[in-house]
Every structure is written in C-alpha cells, then in structure tokens.
C-alpha cells in the first residue's frame, strides 16, 4: 500500500518523483540484458587462430597495451575536475539569480574572476597545448 502512496504524492519538492527513475532504470537494464543474451544465444561459435591476435590492420603488434601514456591526458582530466566543481558552484546562483540582485552578481563575478586568473595562468604555461 505504501508503494501506491508514493505514486499519489503530489508534492513537487519531495523525493517521490525519483520512483519513476527507478522503474526506467530497471527497464533499461532489462533491455540491455535481453539484447546481450539474445545475441549470445543466436550467434554461431567458430574459432580460428587469427582471432587470437590483436587487430592491427594485418601488421604484427609488439607488446601489450598496458604501457604508460602521455601526461597531457592526465592534466586534461585534473583541469576538468577543477572546472567541473566551479560549474557546480554556479548552479545555486543561477536558480536564485533574480532574488540575489546586484550583490549576488558582484559576488559571482569575483568568483569567476579568480577562475579566469587561474585559466590565464594555465594558458600562459601552455598546460593545455596539445602539440609541443
């Protein structure tokens, strides 16, 4: 019975709205599992020796793929985390924009200015330059 009360709850701010997300998640996962299992059961099984090698357009490959990678990918990921958190801080401001008026605007402008200082530092140090 309590499941029905969750669905009849009309309060827009409550977390009952998330119940449908659970249903959609279960159905989506069900669809994915059905597709995988169906293709597993319906396909033939044939093994040949060429299938045991990596695919490199016919050229022989040396060594496996577990080798160290360039650090520029790592720098992009770190800077992405920092800018993502900046964007998170922006979200509560955007919703309350009209109530906060000019005071809030100057506060957020100061916040964005600090980030732009950091951003100019990154550009000057060529941390995001992809080719040397």
């Amino acid at each position: 019975m309590s499941a029905l009360t969750i669905l009849l709850d009309a309060n827009v701010n409550s977390s009952a709205n998330y119940f449908q997300i659970g249903i959609q998640l279960l159905v989506a996962i069900g669809i994915v599992i059905v597709m995988m299992v169906a293709s597993h059961l319906l396909g033939p099984k044939r093994s040949t020796s060429e299938k045991l090698e990596n695919f490199a357009s016919g050229i022989e490959s040396h060594g496996n793929a577990r080798a160290p990678m360039a650090i520029k990918y790592f720098l992009v990921a770190i800077l992405f985390v920092l800018f993502d958190v900046e964007v998170i801080f922006f979200y509560p401001y955007a919703v309350n924009f009209k109530e906060l008026g000019w005071t809030g605007f100057w506060e957020v402008l100061l916040f964005v200015a600090f980030f732009l200082v950091g951003f100019i530092y990154i550009i000057k140090k060529k941390a995001l330059q992809w080719e040397d």
Binding site: S2, A3, I6, D9, N11, N13, S14, S15, A16, Y18, R66, A67, P68, M69, I71, Y73, F74, L75, A77, I78, L79, F80, V81, L82, D84, V85, E86, I88, F89, Y91, P92, Y93, V95, N96, E99, L100, G104, E107, L110, F111, F114, F115, V117, G118, F119, Y121, I122, K125, K126, A127
Partner: protein
C-alpha cells in the same frame, strides 16, 4: 516495513558489499568500478533524505569526474600482475583486525553521542536539500567561504600545472 525502510536497507547492503569489493578486487580497474557503484548507492541515500542537489552533484562530480581521473591514473601506470609486490597473509589478517577495531570505535562513538539521541532523519520531504534553499544560504550567510573556495581552486590549478609540466 515501509517502502522507505526497504530502500534504505537494500541501498545500505549494496554500498557495503561494493565497498568490500573495492578492497578485495585484484584488478585496480575493477576497484574503480565497484567504487562507482558505492557512489550510486550513496546518491540513493541522499535522495531518500530529499537532498536532491547533493545526490545529483555527487553523481556529476564524484562518479562523473573524479572517477574518470582515477581511471586515467590507473591507465597511466604500467600495471601488470607480475611486477606487483605481494604481501604476506599475516599482514592482511592483522590489517583486517586493526580496521575492525577502528570501525567499532567509530560506531560506539556515534551511538553514545548525546546530540543524536532520539532524533530521526527527515525522509522524502523537507525544503533543506533543495537547490533554491541551498543557494540562498550560500550567497547570504556563507559568502566569505565561497570566495575563499575559489582561491583554493586557483591554488589547485597552479599546483596541477607545476607538477604536470616539466618547465
């Protein structure tokens, strides 16, 4: 048992089992994937408490950004099982015992705390977790920490660039 109780206990079980799998997995990429499951379970708990903004931001930042960073780091390192050092089984056993003692200390501390006696968390309803309320509190009462946080991010950016670039 109400629906909220069933959800709470199943999310708890999911979070604990995934956390144990994080520690027990032999492959570091599997550990990262189980950690992502832990974050989903915690977001589910936040939704039960109606902390909607926190739940979604947990997903965006933790499961979406920081775990990608972890995956990149694991892929940057050259991890093959043959080159990793193996610990003796007694070390692992004593590690578990020490960790268990720490856990029981924390649990007894929380249970006996006078602040938390007799109160229960507000479920499903409540305005305190909404993004509008949070924004008002952040920009009216907590402006100075907000600006200081941006200076903290500036220092993090400088630190990342200094460590990452050789010149």
């Amino acid at each position: 048992m109400g629906t909220a109780q069933i959800l709470f206990w199943s999310l708890t079980a999911l979070a604990l089992i995934s956390a144990i799998m994080v520690l027990v997995s032999k492959n570091p990429v599997y550990s990262v994937l189980w950690l992502i499951v832990v974050f989903f379970a915690i977001s589910g708990h936040y939704i039960l408490l109606n902390a909607q903004f926190l739940a979604i931001v947990n997903l965006i930042v933790y499961a979406g950004a920081i775990m990608v960073l972890f995956l990149f780091v694991i892929m940057l390192m050259n991890l093959n099982t043959e080159t990793e050092p193996q610990k003796s089984i007694w070390m692992k056993f004593f590690g578990v015992v020490a960790g268990g003692l720490l856990l029981s200390f924390f649990i007894s501390f929380v249970i006996s705390s006078a602040d938390l006696k007799g109160k229960s968390a507000q479920l499903k309803e409540g305005e305190i977790g909404l993004i509008k309320t949070l924004g008002k509190a952040l920009f009216n009462d907590y402006v100075i920490p907000f600006e200081i946080a941006s200076i903290l991010f500036l220092s993090a950016m400088v630190g990342a660039v200094v460590i990452g670039k050789k010149d």
